[in-house]
Symmetry: none
Subunit: 218 residues, 4 copies
Amino acid sequence: MNKPSQAKVLLSRVARRKVKTNQRLLEVARQLFSEKGIYWAKVEDITEAADLGKGTFYKYFDSKETIIRVLLEEGLGELLLRTEQAVKDASSDAKVLAAVIGARVDFFLAYPDYLFIFHQIRGLMQLQVDAAKGLREVYDNHLRRLAQLIRPAMGSGGVADVRDLASAIAAYTSGLLTYHVLFEGHEAVKRRRDYFVRVLERSLRSLLKTGNGSRNLA
Amino acid sequence: MNKPSQAKVLLSRVARRKVKTNQRLLEVARQLFSEKGIYWAKVEDITEAADLGKGTFYKYFDSKETIIRVLLEEGLGELLLRTEQAVKDASSDAKVLAAVIGARVDFFLAYPDYLFIFHQIRGLMQLQVDAAKGLREVYDNHLRRLAQLIRPAMGSGGVADVRDLASAIAAYTSGLLTYHVLFEGHEAVKRRRDYFVRVLERSLRSLLKTGNGSRNLA
Amino acid sequence: MNKPSQAKVLLSRVARRKVKTNQRLLEVARQLFSEKGIYWAKVEDITEAADLGKGTFYKYFDSKETIIRVLLEEGLGELLLRTEQAVKDASSDAKVLAAVIGARVDFFLAYPDYLFIFHQIRGLMQLQVDAAKGLREVYDNHLRRLAQLIRPAMGSGGVADVRDLASAIAAYTSGLLTYHVLFEGHEAVKRRRDYFVRVLERSLRSLLKTGNGSRNLA
Amino acid sequence: MNKPSQAKVLLSRVARRKVKTNQRLLEVARQLFSEKGIYWAKVEDITEAADLGKGTFYKYFDSKETIIRVLLEEGLGELLLRTEQAVKDASSDAKVLAAVIGARVDFFLAYPDYLFIFHQIRGLMQLQVDAAKGLREVYDNHLRRLAQLIRPAMGSGGVADVRDLASAIAAYTSGLLTYHVLFEGHEAVKRRRDYFVRVLERSLRSLLKTGNGSRNLA
DNA sequence: TATGAATGAGTGTTCATTCAT
DNA sequence: AATGAATGAACACTCATTCAT
């Protein structure tokens, strides 16, 4: 009765350590990718900043590409979580869009590194390059889930596909914020948070009304 | 009377050939940078696609970085040219903004490759990387000129600096189009050209009215 | 009591290996530079001869230029060490010059590769080429130290500057030996070691007496 | 009677022009090789300095290696010519050595570029590199002829082979001058021309007396 | 004949990844 | 598990040489 419990405690201590190392690598990578760019940030830069041996990196991630994908997954995961909560909390269908946008804006204001990383990854995804394959899948999955989330609240708007609205929400929000954070700084944007939410909602509603007969390229 | 003319023809034939090769390299680079990304498109990819020897590239451009900058310069140059014409053609100050936006939208619809290249370059510019230095200079110069162009037509709006409006015009336009061309395709966006001009004008005017007390980071 | 010692042994094994690899690279480079010339000996030739991967070279030396400089520094360092010892051991001021020359001759007979490498580097140093910059600094530093070493023993000879004598010692010794080792072979020169010391001393003393009103170009 | 003469005149004009271009290339190459070094001076540097097209170089010389060899041949040819004259002018056998040395010193003072070029070429010749083959042959030929020239004047000295004396004359002279021109400047050495001749004669006579049982490596 | 645009083998260097310790 | 020394494929770039004009 003691042994197993001891083993469990020991294991969980090791396990906790592993989780911590994993997170440290991800955090450091996020920051470096944002500062220096995905290609210019070297694996060794990451392990050095995380105060780990270079080999350790490969104990946690199969490759540099993998950590990029994991970072994308984590970011989009957290983003979805917040979006889900926002949808739940919305008092009416009419307020869902604003709530969703607000959640996403808040996410990027909480993790501005992700703005620049997502900018780079969006650039990557559209390239005819192997590195892009896995990323596109992750991103598409996020859009799919986002679409499911907002579908109930959307009437039969002009947009043929809620999926298109989802991708527009994603693109507009991070596009707009990337630009403004870059030029006005994180703090200034934070202060005008509500303004940006309003602008985005208006733009997206306008998109909704117009309809666009788009074919989704994804 | 024949000799000199012949010589001239001969000379201009060689000269024309050089100009053509230069253009071919730029065109091919533009396409490959757009398709595969600036990082993944190798110099040899470019020369191969242009059906030239690898060394030839370096007769025309000092380095890979140089061709990226030249491409940026050329693109922004053409963009400015069209913008200038649009401002001249505008029948009133009130129509200048729409004209400018229209010119820029038309540019990107004419050279969609530039959308993706600019997206990448904008990503590059903000990085703390040597490669970014020269590019930022070129881009800033463009924004400065754009600001000069629209200044006369702008009253004293809420935006402290016309320069901020200029950078917003640049960022909003290519940001919006990048996204829509990617997801709806070039043709679909072309058809809705006027819609996008209207959307952009409205967003930018809204920005103008709001004012933002931004500090320009550039 | 065992663990730390084990760890220490383990660490020193790796450390020793590193030192060994470093030395192997330097040795191989010294030999190849001497045999094939600094220009014709390629980095890959060196790593191949050292039975290492090409990338390993750059873990130990920043560039090919660096290993040349390190080789020069090491050679001149050892040369200075032997010269210092010789000066200390000299029983009188009058014997210092002969002792210094003897030490330098012995050095080159012990490491004949350095004769040819120094010949090349001296050629390099005088060129108006970037590669020469760092080397000249190292060499000048050596001459400066050599001058300090012999100054106490030198009266006020006809040479305005002991520094000039130092550079003459350096140049005459390796110049003469380079030629004779090349034409008579290492062994033959070794046998006549004392003869060369005498010849060099006489030539240098003659230089001293003459005086030359030279301006030192270094 | 007219035609051939015309043809001859025309031909000789062209021929003269060719000779001139040839000489210009050689002169420019000599200077650049001396200034920047044989490897660092590019073929294009030479043609550019000579104000010729790059292709023209290859109309006159098969390769870069060829021009180096021609330069060596020309230099050694002129050197031999002057040496021959000096031997002829010598009033007695005893004065031949001094005359030969004087002629060679004067040559290098007239064409100091050759000092640095010969330094480099001597370095090259000893390398186990293909580029060295042809050069060694040219140099050896010069030494052979130099030996023939001085043989009559040499009694049966201690040197087993006059050939060894010849190579010593060649090496000592340019070795000593290279060093002194480099450190004291061309002008200073010119002023002390007679001193250097005396020093060299003494050193070489000392070599003669000693004998060395050397095996010639060439 | 003179040219210089074009070439591509060859070089130094980088960096993601592996693996012995 | 953690490490970091070692690796080598891959890349940007150079330059002697060729050849069409």
